[in-house]
């Protein structure tokens, strides 16, 4: 842009600009900058209620990574991130591609698939709690129709709890579906016409035309899915509270138990871990995905 023109010259509306930016900057300071700085700094202290704050070095982190519950929580966050990125996003992608071919009733399908995204997560969680209920839940009743074992305590059994919590979330793919769908509709129809003239069937068109064109939105979707995986809190908290015996614990639910017992510094060391692990994970996956893209582009250029 022509930014260089004004460089060195002070904009004559600078007072107005400052005034207009001020509210946003103050709120960022209070709710993003100050919290991040506090989370990181106090994670090296023994800050809790009714005690003076002392610097303790890496003690909180050492305790954290020696704690089997926290290691379970990290593992579960990885599972969440992977399942959302590599199960939910692929489902969303397939449904977006199917709907983009505009089968009968595609508008209805799109609207209904997206519906759970606007319903509150807490209400949906309570609904699933009722579905999974071992004595009067509908899931056991359905299995009973097929003569399967009844009375499974889906959320209370250590073998089924994590899967039960994941399932109620992973099929709500509507959000990723609509962002992929929007990109898909942005692809020019002439590309498909050209592919058809070359004799490509629907399947080949999707693989050789659609997928390469959708790469940017898929990278976005996978990144977002990973981020959600590391931030996951709400439905686990409501469905199992991290139990039974911590099998569904996530960093978020573990942080919340520290907050509830006023162990601020320990909580903040978990917060720092969430920020760091999430950041590392996302940058690794993004660089992997973009490298693959670069390699493909080079191959494509050589061909």
């Amino acid at each position: 842009m022509s930014r260089n023109l004004s460089a060195g010259k002070i904009n004559r509306n600078w007072k107005g600009i400052l005034l207009f930016l001020l509210p946003a900057l103050v709120l960022y300071g209070l709710f993003f900058i100050y919290p991040i700085v506090t989370v990181v700094f106090t994670s090296f202290t023994d800050w809790m209620n009714f005690k003076s704050m002392n610097f303790v070095g890496f003690k909180n982190y050492i305790n954290l990574f020696k704690n089997p519950t926290f290691l379970k929580a990290i593992r579960n966050n990885f599972i969440w991130a992977m399942v959302l990125a590599f199960v939910q996003v692929p489902i969303a992608l397939s449904m977006a591609l199917v709907l983009a071919r505009k089968p009968k009733g595609w508008k209805l399908f799109r609207t209904v698939y997206f519906l759970p995204t606007v319903i509150s997560g807490s209400a949906l969680a309570m609904m699933w709690k009722a579905i999974y209920n071992p004595t009067n839940g509908v899931l056991n009743a359905i299995l009973g129709l097929f003569g399967a074992n009844q009375g499974i305590n889906w959320l209370g059994d250590m073998d089924t709890a994590l899967v039960a919590v994941l399932v109620q979330q992973v099929f709500y793919f509507g959000y990723f579906m609509v962002i992929i769908f929007a990109s898909r509709l942005g692809i020019d129809d002439t590309m498909y016409e050209a592919a058809m003239i070359d004799g490509a069937n629907t399947w080949q068109q999707e693989i050789h035309v659609t997928l390469p064109m959708l790469k940017p939105v898929l990278v976005t979707a996978i990144t977002l899915a990973m981020a959600y995986g590391f931030r996951h809190f709400e439905s686990t908290y409501l469905l199992t509270g991290g139990g039974p015996n911590h099998v569904t614990e996530t960093m978020g639910t573990f942080l919340y138990t520290k907050l509830s017992s006023a162990k601020w510094a320990e909580g903040n060391s978990i917060g720092t871990t969430i920020i760091l692990l999430g950041g590392i994970m996302i940058s690794v996956i993004r660089s992997l995905l973009s490298r693959e893209r670069a390699v493909k582009a080079r191959k494509g250029g050589a061909a």
Partner: protein
């Protein structure tokens, strides 16, 4: 378009698969809700002893009446509405002001500030539980609706600024230039020209913020303790103890909390979907 592989065997298999998944997911989205709504109309005895696939013998509207009285739902509804409306208004004004300064004015550091403001989306808010609670304590807002309004306003700024800035950048500059010649001030350019023209962008961002506020659970739990600032989503957490003896009453209460968004969505689904799409397509 797909006529060419209609008659082949793989084509038929693909078609069967396609419709199987289309319908399977449709049922996955809808049937649990249908089961919930039907069950909410049953008596507890009926719910516990009769088949879960049967319709209620008598539709128990009384469950919904009980749900409203037992759990203090009307008051929590009011709280949620206040928080959602106030947050949306405050968030849009703050976001529009900064988006205006950044999209319509050239100055040093412009891009840097924009990048800084937009990078807020990268922060996992869940990691900041402790300090955000402390900040609200410090501001004497803990356990008030004000805590939720201010916190939600801030949390939603990155997305709102992104949407509104994107929209404002498309408004042609000539409009303002002629207005400036006519003696329009900086403030008047915002209030009289750009703000009204940004309306579609504001509606999109506002819809997202409103839905976020209505559905937010985690910070509603962290920032409040008593019923005087309890929102509807947080109220859901207490249903199990409040409806200890009235399970279907609880199901009715859950249905009531879902209804507003479902109704709004039925009328505005296209706008809501396009708004949410716009918010994500950046990477």
């Amino acid at each position: 378009m797909i006529a060419q592989n209609k008659l082949t065997v793989p084509g038929i298999i693909a078609k069967v698969f396609k419709w199987f998944f289309l319908i399977f997911f449709l049922m996955f989205m809808v049937l649990p809700l249908v089961w919930l709504i039907i069950s909410a109309f049953k008596t507890n005895q009926e719910f516990n002893l009769k088949s879960p696939f049967s319709l209620p013998e008598v539709w128990q509207f009384v469950n919904f009446k009980n749900a409203l009285t037992i759990s203090n739902l009307p008051r929590m509804f009011l709280h949620s509405i206040i928080v959602a409306i106030a947050t949306t208004a405050l968030n849009l004004v703050v976001a529009a002001m900064s988006a205006f300064a950044l999209s319509r004015e050239k100055f040093r550091g412009n891009n840097l500030i924009l990048t800084f403001l937009l990078s807020g989306v990268l922060i996992p808010i869940i990691a900041l539980m402790v300090p955000i609670m402390k900040i609200n304590n410090f501001l004497k807002l803990y356990d008030t609706l004000g805590a939720l309004i201010l916190t939600y306003t801030a949390i939603n700024l990155p997305v709102s600024i992104f949407l509104i800035h994107g929209f404002m950048s498309t408004i042609p500059r000539e409009l303002e230039e002629s207005a400036t010649i006519d003696g329009c001030t900086f403030l008047q350019r915002f209030t009289k020209i750009i703000f009204p023209l940004t309306k579609p962008g504001l509606v999109t961002a506002g819809t997202l913020v409103f839905i976020y506020c209505w559905n937010e659970f985690t910070y509603a739990m962290i920032l409040t303790i008593s019923e005087k600032a309890r929102t509807i989503q947080l109220g859901i957490k207490y249903f199990q103890t409040e409806f200890f003896v009235d399970y279907t009453g609880m199901l009715a209460a859950i249905v009531i909390t879902m209804l507003p968004t479902i109704i709004v969505y039925t009328f505005m689904h296209d706008r809501i979907i396009s708004g949410m799409t716009a918010g994500a397509v950046k990477g």
